[in-house]
Symmetry: C2
Subunit: 141 residues, 2 copies
DNA sequence: AATGCATTTGATACAGTGTATCATTTTAGT
DNA sequence: ACTAAAATGATACACTGTATCAAATGCATT
């Protein structure tokens, strides 16, 4: 069988995890959402995709994907209800307005140099990063 | 009265908020902790500092400080129980090992250039940032 | 295709975290 | 000191994430 697996599903399998319905449903929910989605929204979408998937498996999968650096929980504005962000190419960057909580995404980060330096100096192997600027958006300045 | 206010307390006042016992107790708890502290730990420390401070005010203050970019909630390893990080000079950087959850702090980031570019291009005013690398620490490589 | 086992699951009941409410207290400016 | 507005603490609540465990499933091997 020459199944064409999504890259993230492949990453799951490569890490030695099984590709179950629950996990694929969560991945699909995340990918359809386009980023910055709360656990409540994931639960809702997964329920539409496959209502037999249980609550616990959704949270287990979110933890698993976080550990594999496929998603990253972040906070927007308040201390509760994290937002899960897909990390498409191993990194993600946004600006959060501390006044209106608007989120502005951007692509360039120029962090490759410092990442390489850290790997060399600290002996770590870096697979991705999240860069979060905060301040006032153009509407709130 | 020439009260010498801590810089963060000053920042609170400058933003038009009152300097109450509850807020000062939470600030003190955060500062004594040295970074990466959970809400449960904040609640415990605040209770020692001033047991009359109520639970709700602690959470209200954490939200307030987050909005002012004085602290930032982040996740270590799992999707629950955020860790609050003090942002001493407007920015904070760490590496999280996706295997053992060790946290490695580092200082240099070299993000001033891109911050200035974003301010110019997007019309925003940036006051700080959080940079989170993830990967494997030297023990786990 | 059928087998076998370790992994994963779903249901449920639970623990813990953060919040709404509102009468009372406190702050800070006059 | 006086006052209005802001903030508080107590409580009860809602919601998010988790422990448990018998049953189901993925997948490597035959
Ligand atoms: Zn804004
Ligand atoms: Zn980047
Ligand atoms: Zn490690
Ligand atoms: Zn920095």
């Amino acid at each position: 069988m020459t199944d064409s697996l999504s890259p993230r599903a492949q990453k799951l399998r490569d890490a030695g995890h099984k590709l179950t319905n629950a996990r694929l449903a969560v991945l699909q929910a995340l990918e359809e959402s386009g980023g910055h989605i709360t656990s409540a929204e994931v639960l809702g979408r997964v329920d539409e995709i496959d209502s037999s998937v249980g609550r616990a498996s959704v949270f287990r999968t979110l933890d698993l994907l976080t550990g594999l650096a496929i998603i990253r929980p972040t906070y927007i504005g308040t201390s509760m209800t994290p937002t899960y962000v897909l990390l498409p190419e191993g990194h993600h960057h946004h600006i959060i307005c501390t006044n209106c909580n608007r989120v502005i995404e951007f692509d360039e980060c120029g962090l490759e140099a410092i990442a390489a330096e850290l790997e060399h100096r600290l002996g770590v192997r870096l697979t991705g990063h999240l860069l979060e600027f905060y301040g006032l958006c153009d509407q709130c300045v």
